[in-house]
């Protein structure tokens, strides 16, 4: 149960950073925290008590004493795609800074007209 509360806290802290903060890099840090909280929530839903990791390394392990392998496969893909999105977002931020000379979202909106 403590895993659920920790992951929900991480999601809410990340969403607070995206909604309130005005610096663009802080918003990307918030998105990265939301990603981490979601992955923890998925793996915590797929956990079964007193079972072990889904690898048949010895002959004595059967399929009846392993945790759920499907959320682990989904989260594996999600971590790599989170890295790709963060990298492209930060490249766009570097170009924005070259053009506007500031990273404050209020000032970038003003400079349009």
């Amino acid at each position: 149960m403590i895993y659920y509360i920790t992951s929900i806290a991480l999601i809410l802290i990340g969403m607070y950073a995206v909604l309130v903060k005005k610096n663009l890099i802080k918003m990307i840090i918030g998105l990265s925290l939301v990603d981490g909280g979601l992955h923890l929530l998925f793996i915590a839903i797929g956990y079964v008590d007193n079972k072990t990791a889904p690898i048949f390394s010895k002959e004595s392990l059967t399929a009846a004493d392993m945790v759920d392998p499907i959320p682990q496969a989904l989260v594996l893909t999600a971590i790599v795609i989170g890295l790709a999105v963060t990298a492209v977002a930060l490249a766009i931020i570097i170009r924005l800074y070259d053009h506007h000379k500031t990273l404050n979202v209020n000032k970038i909106r003003e400079l349009k007209w």
């Binding site: 659920y4 999601i11 607070y16 079964v48 690898i55 048949f56 496969a73 893909t77 790599v80 492209v88």
Partner: protein, 226 residues
């Protein structure tokens, strides 16, 4: 004012999420499809790592999509940060302790990355983990030496050949009259290195591709520092 509305919204969201999580008890056995994958993975695919057989064999098409997303991200990054003024030089060496240690550790880190993606069907690991480890080793060499360069042409050739290997193996399954990405090589005995059909070959191709891509991304980013 904005902060108060945000706190209220987040409090309501948190309350409903905790209520929802109370209806999913922690640690209960809820598997339906997972049980089928766990019972049939050694006899159908031959690999003892269930997560690897799900990622490469049962849902291999999603892995093809993920490799495409990574390729597009690396290309987009290179296109956004394109600099017409040419390369810039880094300024100073690190100290001699860092230089000696990184020269000793660099082949060991690349060997560890290659071990992780070759043994993906036996131990925890696989292509994405091995590629990230190789990229971290190359980053360490970039940070220590002023004149360390990687060959851009060689990286592009490695990445393209690895991607073509993945697609060719999938198409071979289609040409032989079965489905795309079908396991057509003999399965062998489980828990040995040469087992599980085409799974180690596909994961090695993915490991090479991800390692070369992430090294190219780091190279692009580090060269634009003034």
């Amino acid at each position: 004012m904005r902060k108060i509305i945000t706190f209220l919204f987040l409090a309501i969201l948190g309350y409903y999420m905790v209520n929802l999580m109370n209806q999913i008890p922690f640690g209960e056995d809820r598997m339906n499809v997972g049980r089928y994958y766990l019972e049939n993975t050694v006899s159908e695919t031959g690999s003892v790592n269930t997560v690897t057989s799900i990622v490469v064999s049962y849902r291999g098409f999603d892995t093809l999509g993920e490799v495409t997303v990574l390729f597009l991200a690396a290309t987009g990054l290179g296109a956004i940060l394109f600099d017409k003024r040419g390369k810039k030089r880094r300024k100073q060496h690190a100290s001699s302790l860092v230089r000696t240690t990184s020269k000793l550790l660099y082949p060991l880190i690349v060997l560890l990355g290659a071990y992780v993606f070759v043994h993906g069907h036996l131990t925890p690991g696989g292509g994405f983990q091995g590629g990230a480890i190789i990229a971290t080793g190359v980053l360490m060499m970039y940070m220590s030496y002023r004149k360390f360069e990687t060959n851009h042409k060689a990286l592009t050739i490695i990445e393209s050949v690895a991607g073509l290997t993945f697609i060719t193996l999938g198409m071979t399954g289609l040409i032989l009259g079965q489905t795309f990405l079908e396991n057509f090589l003999p399965l062998g005995t489980p828990n040995t290195l040469l087992s599980a059909g085409i799974i180690p070959i596909i994961y090695s191709a993915v490991g090479f591709k991800v390692g070369a891509e992430l090294t190219g991304v780091l190279d692009t980013l580090l060269k634009t520092i003034r």
